[in-house]
């Protein structure tokens, strides 16, 4: 895959004795949204830092937009936009000044940036905040400005590290909608997240990391169909191990996580009938999702 936007080949990275990334390989095709999924500490941020040339791999090869990284990361970064995990806007500057200052880091003149500013602010839905100080913006607005800032150099590739962590649902949906608009414009996106819903909505393909290793890779819906492929019932409010024995005959598979029993059954009605009359139990039936995939592959929930 020589024309891949990002290509990682057997990349490893340790800090001291702790292996953070372990023989990781994946390739992101131009124009796709590729997700790096995993619980906190799975190595997602380290992978993005290595792709940007901010950390060097101990072993393996990284190519980004045709440039070997970290050796020529600077050349690659000229065509990358980054939305970092934590906001790092200049709080004492206005929205407009933030864009102007950031444009200069890419060698853009004030005139270049001012010509772009209206369209960037419109994209970020911040037209009315151009002269507001960033310190006065809400969390969601700051994220939108960070996204607008990442677009200032008209990047081919966007790298987003947990772009909606800490946002309220309204702001999260706005960011998702904006990211889809960027994909429609042909941008390539690498997205790290621990939100399954985010990955399912946005990613064409994704790979799930655990402890720096890739445990599965594919299209989100294909993964769910392939690895789960039946209804899920979440049952809680009783002793999960007792319940497990009860519903076992009707389930294809059962996972217990904390006080919740995840029952994977092709006919959930049978489970429902079996448990009828038991007071205090809560049953939720839902379609399977990536959370179930993760649970199946690791035996634990992603956010626990």
């Amino acid at each position: 895959m020589s024309n891949a936007a990002i290509d990682l080949a057997s990349v490893s990275k340790s800090y001291g004795k702790k292996i953070v990334v372990d023989g990781l390989s994946f390739a992101v095709a131009p124009g796709e949204c590729f997700g790096l999924l995993g619980p906190n500490g799975a190595g997602k941020s380290t992978v993005t830092r290595m792709i940007l040339g901010m950390a060097s791999p101990d072993a393996g090869k990284i190519t980004v937009l045709g440039q070997p990284v970290p050796a020529r990361a600077r050349v690659a970064r000229a065509r990358i936009g980054v939305v970092p995990q934590f906001d790092n806007l200049d709080l004492q500057f206005t929205v407009r000044e933030n864009l102007r200052v950031f444009g200069r880091y890419f060698g853009m003149s004030r005139r270049d940036v001012e010509a772009l500013t209206p369209s960037l602010l419109e994209f970020a839905r911040l037209e009315h905040k151009a002269d507001a100080r960033v310190a006065e913006l809400s969390g969601g607005m700051k994220r939108c400005l960070t996204l607008a800032r990442a677009l200032i150099n008209d990047p081919q590739l966007l790298i987003m590290d947990e772009p909606t962590t800490g946002l309220d649902p309204h702001a999260r949906h706005l960011i998702w909608e904006r990211l889809r608009a960027l994909l429609a414009r042909g941008k390539t996106i690498l997205l790290t997240t621990h939100f399954m819903e985010e990955a399912e909505r946005l990613c064409d393909r994704l790979c799930v990391l655990e402890k720096g290793r890739k445990i599965v890779e594919g299209r989100p819906h294909a993964l769910v169909d392939e690895l789960i492929g039946c209804h899920v019932m979440e049952i809680y409010g009783g002793n999960p191990h007792e319940l497990q024995a009860l519903v076992n005959p009707y389930a294809q598979r059962i996972e217990v996580s904390g006080e919740t029993l995840f029952c994977y059954a092709s006919d959930p009605e049978l489970v429902r009938v079996e448990l009828r009359g038991r007071t205090g139990l809560r049953l939720i039936q839902r379609p399977p999702n990536l959370e179930d995939v993760f649970l199946r592959l690791t035996g634990r929930e992603m956010n626990k």
Binding site: Y15, L52, G53, M54, A55, S56, P70, A71, R72, A73, R74, V75, R77, A78, I80, V82, P84, F86, D87, N88, L89, D90, L91, Q92, F93, E97, V101, F102, R104, Y105, F106, G107, N153
Partner: protein, 262 residues
């Protein structure tokens, strides 16, 4: 290490200007307070010690004590302004404010950032040192036009101390450690460098230490310029300050590479 180090050095001769201009924009918003902060301390010392001690001291090296002290305070003002900017403001931009983190995602390198920060700190030092010089000049404690030669010397002093402070910034785990540099290195240096009284009044051992201190070389350039005296060992002073500006820059780049880009 070496390949990563080379990649982290300044990418060209002008990228740093973007960093300088970012800091300038931030400074402009608080310029009056900032200038006051940079000038208040050296002015207080200049007038307090100059007039107060001056009465008892009389003339020093053929000039009034306050005129002698003015050059020392100009050098010390540049030293303090460059140091404070680098160990506090730059440290904040590197650590708490995550400003560097944002910049490292652009086409700038770590070296571009460090150079931009050093040039900015040197600019603030130039303002502070020049402020003291102008006041001294207006009150008749400096000789026109030779005082103009003091200005490039003040700028170079600022760059040297910014560069030294960048090493401290690169090594300090937290703010608490930065104070040590100030109290254990800078304050003694003021007294060992001929800023407040002539170096030849020091015990011999301290006189030889003085030969290696950047502030001593700074004062060695600034004082003759301000007093209109002939300049002695010009090349040595300039050379020493250049070494203090350049060597710590490359050293701090290596330290910061290890600290930030692991």
């Amino acid at each position: 290490m070496s390949e990563a180090y080379l990649a982290a050095l300044p990418a060209n001769a002008w990228n740093w200007i973007a960093i300088w201009r970012r800091n300038y924009l931030a400074w402009r918003k608080v310029a009056v307070a900032s200038l006051l902060g940079n000038l208040a301390d050296p002015m207080t010392n200049l007038f307090g010690l100059g007039f107060g001690l001056g009465i008892m001291v009389g003339r020093v090296e053929g000039t009034s004590y306050i005129a002698f002290l003015a050059a020392g305070m100009a050098g010390a003002a540049a030293m303090t302004a460059a140091t404070f900017e680098t160990i506090y403001a730059t440290f904040a931009r590197m650590q708490a404010q995550r400003t560097w983190e944002a910049i490292l995602c652009t086409q700038l390198t770590l070296g571009d950032i460090i150079l931009g920060e050093l040039m900015w700190a040197a600019s603030k030092a130039f303002l502070a040192g020049t402020g003291v010089t102008i006041v001294a000049g207006l009150l008749g404690y400096a000789t026109w036009p030779s005082v103009l030669y003091a200005l490039p010397a003040i700028a170079l002093t600022g760059l040297a101390f910014a560069s030294l402070a960048m090493v401290v910034t690169a090594l300090a785990p937290s703010y608490d450690y930065l104070v040590f540099y100030q109290t254990l290195v800078l304050t003694p240096m003021v007294f060992l460098s001929g800023a407040v009284f002539p170096v030849n009044r020091l015990p011999d051992a301290f006189q030889s230490v003085s030969r290696f201190l950047p502030l001593a070389h700074a004062v060695g350039l600034i004082r003759p310029a301000m007093l209109g005296d002939p300049m002695a060992s010009l090349a040595v002073h300039i050379g020493a300050l250049c070494i203090y500006a350049v060597v710590p820059f490359f050293f701090s780049a290596a330290l910061l590479l290890r600290r930030l880009m692991r």
